[in-house]
């Protein structure tokens, strides 16, 4: 069948064309992550020896809640984009699409679970 297609038609959609938005979001979240992950590491260091009540008190602080939510949102978008590139580079054939779907689902589940925990602790329930 491929004999009827021109070489150009066969390669269309196989390459990097149309990836500008992907590239841009990767860089945008990377810039955000430099600041957000630095905050996250400092927060972890400050909570290292804290009791359960101390950790809950920290997460009851609106600034910590908002910043941690941003950490989760930026990091999960960034990791979804990055894993997509890895999968597209190394996985071909039937496994590719299911893995790309799983990748997106994984990132969303991680984000949802973290955000639920952060919101719950912020509102003190």
């Amino acid at each position: 069948m491929s004999d009827f297609r021109t070489p150009l038609r066969r390669v269309r959609g196989m390459g990097a064309a149309g990836g500008t938005e992907h590239f841009w979001r990767q860089r945008l979240t990377a810039v955000a992550n430099v600041f957000l992950i630095t905050f996250f590491v400092i927060l972890l260091l400050s909570l290292m020896n804290e009791s359960y009540d101390g950790v809950r008190a920290a997460f009851a602080n609106p600034f910590v809640g908002i910043a941690m939510a941003l950490v989760v949102i930026s990091a999960t978008i960034h990791m979804q984009l990055g894993m997509q590139v890895i999968l597209e580079d190394y996985v071909h054939g039937a496994a590719k699409m299911p893995l790309l779907i799983l990748n997106t689902f994984f990132a969303i589940v991680v984000a949802a679970a973290c955000l639920f925990a952060i919101v719950k602790m912020s509102f003190g329930a």
């Binding site: 990377a30 992550n33 973290c114 952060i118």
Partner: protein, 130 residues
């Protein structure tokens, strides 16, 4: 794979190239990225445990405080710092700078030395002041 029969040059297999620091940093950036990806499950565990109550939090804390937990956190710290330093290197490249052979090799070496040094310093700080 391709049914195109022509004398056009094809990309040679990468194994014909001598392994360089830039190549090592390229694949390490992916490996650390992949490790950080899987490691977010630990963040989920910690946050959900803290949100669930004292008992769940105590279980998570006990794991992160154990030898295995501390080793995982040490490795995670390095992966995080290495991926961040690698990312900063990409920002420099994005401006069109530091792409010459010698500069990119120097930057590659700086990335691994910097990430290892920063990780060790951070954990020395934790051991001494923690």
């Amino acid at each position: 794979m391709s049914d195109v029969k022509s004398a056009r040059p094809l990309s040679p297999h990468i194994s014909i190239y001598k392994f360089r620091p830039t190549m090592a940093m390229s694949i390490l950036h992916r490996i650390t990225g992949g490790a950080l990806y899987v490691g977010t499950l630990l963040l989920v565990w910690w946050l959900v445990a803290a949100a669930s109550g004292p008992a769940a939090f105590a279980t998570a804390s006990a794991f992160f405080g154990s030898i295995i937990g501390q080793l995982i956190l040490f490795g995670y710290t390095w992966a995080l710092l290495h991926h961040m330093f690698g990312g900063l290197r990409h920002f420099v490249w994005d401006t069109g700078r530091a792409i010459s052979k010698t500069t990119s090799t120097t930057l590659a070496n700086a990335t691994i030395i910097g990430s290892l040094a920063a990780t060790v310093l951070l954990w020395l700080g934790i051991l001494i002041f923690g």
